[in-house]
């Protein structure tokens, strides 16, 4: 290439470019070899090692072989690289030295000189050997000599620059070998040349780039240089490297633009700032857009031209690299950045021109990509393309608006002029797309040609975009496009088409809680609904907008007014009347129709307050419900009526609904607060609300004891309901007015913006539960309805039967002293009139004490004292009448009465009881957990109430405060009776006039009191003893029946109005006449003065009969023989304190003559175990009964078992033999014998009074034995 202006063969600029290799020498030879050469060269790849650390690449080399001309060699400074010959080859077939010397050498020299002149070092000399030729000439030199000659002559030290190719046209292994060697050499040399020349070129290029700050530097020039490099890489199929060159150029240019924006302007950049005159879009269908390239070369390109060209090259390379999606992505970036750059460089652009350019470019890129991909590929990569689609759509839309194609009237003349200008800027359609029907150019031209065409194209694009967004799941984007489309439809007066898109978008924004978009979309929707005449929907949207905080006050007022004016029109003109402002004649459509709208847009229910606070009211009572409503409207609104629909239910068989339960349990403060509706917080949309668990205790109505307990979930209806998928907050269809007989109303209310309080008063009628269900506010035909009041609000109306309760004032009532009893009359629905009285049937043993000052208090239902009145009590024999004070229904009358239970006399031993109305019995009461509990007496009082024909029977339980026991004491034959009175109550009493009286028929018994004090104080839990001596005149004395009586009164009270009855106690004493006298004596061992421990002493027991045969002796033990009676007795020596060891028999059976002064003596050995004054061991006496008596095993085991441990070594036979020394702890085993069921004698204890132990309490001195070294000291 001599000069750039020289016409170049077009081959240079096709992608069939190959590196140029020149051929000199024998042209015929080359022509014959060329086919094989060009075929073989690219067959095998060659590794290309590159400078600057770039990764080596395997490369398939191809070459364009041209005939060598001197002109082909580049001159100094020529930067063209495409036309650069990378290798020069000299072909020769010479095998004759003569010929070589004559012609070839000269030729070679000339060739070499030319190369040297152009400082080209990339050359090769090929010597082709031909055996056929050789044979013809016999006088040839060995072939090596020619090659050697050439090497000698030309390749000094570069012997590899001359190669031999043998018989290239033959098919022999030698030929093959030689070819391979030659090709390898050729490739190596080519690559070497590339490396060297490209390296040099790159260095030059870099140098040039470094000069970019110099004033004269031109980007276009540099562009052409670097592009040259790109071309070469492309030529070498190194598209990646080629792309890098363009990307570098791109980045460099972008940086310049940015710097320009920052005030650092480069001179050359002003070229690109020319006003935009042509906007014909990207051209991607040609590999190289020569027009644009020439513009750049001539430095006449505008910014758009440069960008377009650059991108078209990048696009081509990316498509070579099979990366079409990157094209789409880069295209979007490019378009955006071009728009930005034009702005930044302040290039003047006619309005709409850029839109045209972007639109065309988008479509061009899309069509280009579609052209090189199949359908499936495109479908799976929509995400990459959709951006371009939507961008194109956006641009078309703005073009439409610009050119007046969207307006209702169509474009005006100004619009038309603008359209013409825009179309002019497109220029003529390019030849390569001229035949394509859907070319971007044609599309744009058509779209701008008419309103209808525009609409068609715009809708096509929009729908395609929406579809694509939807298909890849970009719902939000799809909705936004849909909203644009809706806007378009609204402009085209097709609100019916717009509505769907607006609803869709609104639903999306609502679901995700985006307030501002919601407001905006809703405003559009309102407009749409108004035009469509969807009156109900429009009113609802309007009310929502009126309450929308995100809307300016003015707009809110407007929408509020829309609602209000509709309402008032309906009121004023019940019949259809024309000439009202709205577009649609609403009245015709909705006359006489109720418009039901949700309440939440209008007002919010904040809280609700009951009066009475427990929300329980008796039938006929007055209930006030005060609701706090927060009006959302921007202006005061006059509401015709606010009403609450109430659902009434009677819940029978539910004790919760009884008056008692209600009045006691429902003790809330009467305020129910409603949670704020989180309409714009869909946070809980996916996550369920938290469980609202509360503890539940259900108590029995009778005694308040716990019946059931559990946990209840209060918001179970929220948790278990179906997740509504398509529920729209905007559709009012879900609202229905509930009909019900029970409605709380409040008429003509003006709701101020913000908080309003509205009070409803109602008189309770039927008992039952009333549930507040719906809250409604009506403005003419417009009803705002809160469909469900949640949480559930209820009030209860109850009706109560009159009731009487009688209960003691204290914990328990004490018999014998005046006690207070509280009467409670719950009037219920009964009104107590003057003269109504309670009739108490008198009980003999219980007196009602009528005090002068008895006052009754009347309380209202809510425990407020309403009046007091004195009580009139009239008592007759049978009936006590208590006149009640007059009291209205649902009041409580309370008064106290004093009652006195006459003390009864519990019998001793419990055998004999005094029969009568009071039934004394022992009752275990929780209050008295002491070991003794009081004897109680129940008194049943029957009361006739004025409201009922039946009598009420009330049981009052009185406790006897005392417990009395008696005992017989003996001293030889003298007898004493002891009575023990124990105070079990918490009170102190004063006892007086104690008296014991014989009740028996015989009068020869006398009781002589030994008590000194007549009056005695007995404190709580104390015991007092009384003793009488018993004397008699006739022997033996008869059984004693006596009655103890003692007067008592509470110690604290000084004055008692009534005289109290004394406390009595009856008992019987039998067989108290002493029959036997037992006397024991311990004597020291004979000769000793004192008893000593460890030494045996003698125990003398003498049993003396004191009386002759008596009635009491006549039993089984009595033995009669010849007028001589004897009875069998068993004695037993027992030492409970373990002081003595009994040696030998400790017990024995004696036959005792039944005669006065008969004495039986027993001698035993005992050993003292301790020293000191020791009490004598006990001597016990039993009646010994033969075994055959059936019933008499009355001997209680206690008397036998003296210690805990059982002796097991005893035989049955010596059960009574007691021959062993009774040591400590040994005892009789009674239980074992009983278990065996063998016949055995039985023992019967003698009655207490019949035996007198005269040695009881005696002690004997025991001194320690002298040899006792151990002194046992027991401290207790």
């Amino acid at each position: 290439m001599d000069a750039p202006e020289e016409p170049q063969p077009p081959v240079v600029y096709t992608m069939e470019n190959k590196p140029i290799v020149t051929c000199a020498g024998d042209q015929n030879l080359f022509t014959s070899i060329y086919p094989t050469l060009s075929q073989q060269l690219p067959r095998e790849p060659m590794e290309w090692r590159r400078s600057y650390g770039r990764a080596p690449k395997m490369i398939h080399l191809e070459s364009n072989f041209v005939q060598f001309k001197e002109e082909l060699l580049p001159k100094e400074g020529n930067k063209a690289l495409l036309t650069f010959p990378f290798l020069h080859i000299y072909w020769t077939e010479c095998c004759d030295t003569e010929v070589y010397k004559a012609t070839v050498k000269d030729d070679l020299t000339k060739w070499q000189n030319v190369l040297k002149a152009h400082s080209s070092v990339d050359w090769l000399i090929v010597v082709v050997e031909n055996d056929a030729k050789k044979k013809n000439k016999t006088n040839i030199l060995p072939r090596t000599s020619i090659v050697d000659k050439i090497r000698n002559d030309f390749c000094n030290k570069q012997s590899d620059r001359c190669v031999v190719l043998s018989d290239p046209l033959k098919d022999s292994s030698r030929t093959q070998e030689s070819w391979n060697a030659f090709l390898t050499k050729l490739r190596t040399l080519l690559l070497m040349s590339f490396t060297k020349n490209l390296g040099k070129f790159e260095d030059d290029m870099r140098t040039l780039r470094e000069k970019r700050t110099e004033p004269g530097w031109s980007f276009c020039e540099y562009f052409m240089v670097q592009e040259e490099l790109a071309f070469v890489f492309e030529m070498l199929q190194q598209f990646e490297d080629a792309l890098v060159q363009y990307d570098e150029l791109d980045a460099l240019f972008s940086q310049y633009v940015v710097n320009f924006g920052a005030g650092d302007g480069a001179n050359w950049l002003t070229f690109f700032c020319q006003p935009v005159k042509s906007w014909n879009g990207l051209v991607l269908r040609k590999p190289i857009d020569m027009e644009k390239r020439e513009l750049i070369q001539r430095q006449e390109a505008t910014l758009l031209d440069l960008r377009s060209y650059l991108f078209s090259r990048q696009c081509t390379l990316l498509l070579f690299l099979q990366r079409p999606w990157e094209v789409a992505q880069r295209a979007l970036e490019l378009l955006h950045s071009c728009v930005q750059e034009l702005k930044l460089l302040e290039v003047s652009v006619p309005p709409g021109a850029l839109d045209c350019w972007v639109f065309l470019s988008c479509l061009e890129v899309l069509q280009r990509i579609e052209g090189c991909c199949d359908r499936a590929q495109i479908d799976s990569n929509i995400a990459h393309m959709v951006g371009l689609w939507s961008y194109a759509m956006e641009k078309l839309k703005s073009l439409g608006y610009l050119c007046g194609l969207v307006s209702e009237k169509g474009p005006n003349s100004e619009d038309l002029n603008r359209t013409v200008d825009l179309l002019a800027g497109l220029g003529a359609e390019r030849p390569e797309t001229a035949n394509t029907a859907q070319s971007p150019y044609k599309k744009l031209q058509e779209a701008l040609s008419s309103v209808e065409a525009f609409e068609k194209h715009y809708l096509d694009l929009s729908h395609a975009t929406i579809e694509m967004y939807t298909s890849i799941g970009r719902i939000r984007s799809a909705k936004l496009v849909g909203k644009d489309l809706a806007e378009f439809y609204m402009r085209k007066r097709s609100p019916q088409k717009a509505e769907m898109y607006l609803q869709g978008a609104l639903k999306n924004y609502l679901a995700e809680g985006w307030a501002l978009p919601v407001t905006h979309t809703r405003k559009q929707l309102a407009e749409c609904q108004k035009r469509l005449g969807q009156m109900e929907n429009y009113l609802q949207t309007s009310s929502l907008l009126a309450s929308d905080q995100h809307l300016p006050e003015e707009e809110r007022k407007y929408f509020c007014q829309e609602v209000l004016s509709y309402a008032s029109q309906q009121e004023d003109n019940p019949a259809p009347a024309g000439g009202v402002a709205p577009v649609v004649d609403w009245e015709c459509v909705f006359a006489g129709h109720k418009v039901v709208l949700p309440m939440h847009s209008f007002a919010r229910l904040k809280d609700l307050r009951f009066d009475p606070p427990n929300a329980v009211v008796h039938a006929g009572g007055v209930l006030t419900v005060e609701i706090t409503v927060c009006s959302q409207m921007p202006v005061p609104v006059h509401v015709d009526q606010i009403s609450v629909n109430v659902h009434f239910s009677i819940e029978k068989n539910n004790y919760r609904k009884t008056a008692e339960w209600l009045t006691k349990h429902k003790t809330s403060n009467g305020i129910i607060t409603f949670p704020a509706e989180a309409s714009l917080f869909p946070a809980s949309q996916n996550s369920l609300p938290a469980l609202d668990l509360t503890e539940m205790l259900e108590r029995s109505p009778s005694d308040n004891s716990l019946n059931t307990t559990g946990i209840i979930c209060r918001n179970v209806h929220m948790l278990l309901r179906r997740q509504e998928s398509g529920s729209s907050l905007e559709t009012p269809s879900g609202l229905a007015l509930e009909d019900g007989a029970h409605v709380l109303r409040c008429n003509s209310v003006t709701l101020q913006p913000g908080v309003n309080k509205i009070a409803f008063r109602t008189q309770a009628k039927d008992p039952g539960t009333y549930t507040l269900r719906q809250l409604r506010a009506s403005l003419g035909p417009v009803w705002f309805v809160l469909a469900h009041i949640h949480p559930v609000v209820q009030y209860d109306v109850y009706s109560q039967e009159p009731q009487l309760h009688v209960e003691p004032l204290a914990d328990s009532l004490l018999a014998g002293i005046p006690q207070k009893v509280k009467f409670t009359v719950t009037t219920g629905h009964y009104t107590v009139k003057n003269g109504d009285s309670l009739q108490l049937s008198n009980v003999e043993a219980m007196l009602i004490l009528c005090e002068a000052e008895n006052r009754a208090v009347v309380y209202s239902n809510s425990r407020e004292e309403s009046s007091t009145a004195s009580l009139r009590i009239q008592a007759s024999d049978k009936v006590t009448s208590i006149g009640l004070p007059s009291a209205p229904a649902y009041h409580v009358i309370e008064f106290e009465l004093e009652v006195l239970s006459l003390p009864s006399a519990p019998a001793a031993g419990g055998d004999t009881r005094i029969l009568g109305t009071p039934e004394p019995h022992r009752k275990q009461k929780g209050m008295q957990q002491t070991d003794h509990c009081m004897v109680t007496t129940d008194h049943k009082v029957s009361i006739d109430c004025p409201w009922s024909i039946y009598s009420t029977v009330i049981a009052l339980t009185f406790s006897v405060p005392f417990r009395t026991t008696h005992s017989l004491l003996s001293a030889g034959t003298r007898k004493y009776v002891q009575v023990c009175v124990q105070n079990l109550s918490e009170l102190d009493f004063e006892l007086s006039d104690s008296h014991l009286e014989d009740m028996g028929p015989a009068a020869d018994l006398r009781l002589a009191p030994l008590n000194t004090q007549s009056q005695q104080l007995i404190h709580s839990k104390q015991t007092v003893f009384f003793v009488w001596e018993l004397t008699w005149t006739q022997e033996p004395p008869p059984p004693l029946h006596c009655q103890f009586s003692v007067g008592f009164s509470p110690a604290s009270e000084e004055q008692l109005t009534v005289s109290l009855k004394p406390y009595t106690y009856e008992f019987q004493v039998e067989n108290f006449f002493t029959l036997y006298n037992v006397r024991a004596e311990i004597l020291p061992a004979s000769g000793a003065e004192y008893c000593r421990t460890g030494s045996l002493c003698s125990l003398e027991v003498s049993i003396t009969r004191l009386a002759d045969l008596l009635d009491v002796d006549k039993d089984e033990a009595l033995v009669e023989s010849e007028e001589y009676f004897s009875t069998k007795l068993m004695y037993e020596v027992v030492d409970n304190s373990s002081n003595w060891a009994v040696c030998g028999k400790s017990c024995g059976v004696i036959s005792m003559p039944v005669a006065a002064q008969a004495t039986h003596r027993v001698h035993m050995e005992v050993m003292p175990l301790f020293a000191g004054y020791l009490p004598l061991p006990d001597v016990r006496l039993f009646k010994y009964l033969p075994h055959h008596s059936a019933h008499a095993s009355q001997l209680d085991a206690d008397s036998w078992i003296e210690n805990d441990s059982l002796s097991v070594d005893k035989h049955l036979d010596d059960q009574l033999d007691c021959s062993s020394v009774r040591s400590r702890g040994s005892t009789h085993s009674v239980s074992s014998s009983e278990h065996k069921g063998l016949p055995m004698p039985r023992l019967q204890a003698l009655p207490a009074g019949q035996v007198f132990n005269s040695s009881t309490g005696m002690q004997i001195l025991v001194i320690p034995s002298q040899d006792d070294h151990v002194l046992e000291v027991s401290v207790t």
């Binding site: 924006g261 728009v339 930005q340 995400a383 799941g473 939000r476 936004l480 924004y509 809680g513 996916n686």
Partner: protein
């Protein structure tokens, strides 16, 4: 710097959104809302296996002619979206990253406030000031 900063809850409702007062607020609301499409796409593309070591910064969500929208998602799926003016070429990826990190730190502070109820709109003044500083700072 940024023209709009938004914090979006896991359920995709805005916890906080603020834009430069000079511009149409509504436009940014739409833009941020739409960008959630891409956020969702990117999150799901990242896959569940790499949740632990995944990058919180989502990069450029999508460019428009005038704005660039960047995204960031916390481990609890709270999204941060930042809209930057396209003409502001000084803002590189690194700056955006550090801005997001700042935003995240401040958001963490908000969450640490015991009086803040997670899921409520952010009304913290400290957070607001930080956002303001990120919006005002002119390069």
């Amino acid at each position: 710097m940024a023209v709009c900063i938004a914090v979006i809850a896991k359920e995709n409702y805005p916890l906080y959104i603020r834009s430069t007062p000079t511009e149409n607020e509504l436009k940014f609301h739409y833009m941020v809302h739409t960008s959630l499409d891409v956020v969702d796409e990117k999150i799901s593309a990242m896959g569940k296996a790499l949740v632990d070591q995944r990058e919180l910064y989502l990069g450029l969500l999508y460019p428009t002619e005038d704005y660039k929208v960047y995204g960031y998602v916390t481990n609890s799926k709270v999204k941060f979206v930042m809209v930057v003016d396209s003409s502001n070429t000084a803002l590189r990826d690194n700056e955006i990253r550090s801005m997001f990190r700042k935003l995240h730190n401040s958001y963490t502070d908000v969450m640490c406030n015991p009086f803040y109820n997670p899921g409520d709109r952010i009304q913290s003044r400290a957070f607001d000031n930080m956002v303001t500083s990120m919006m005002i700072q002119v390069c």
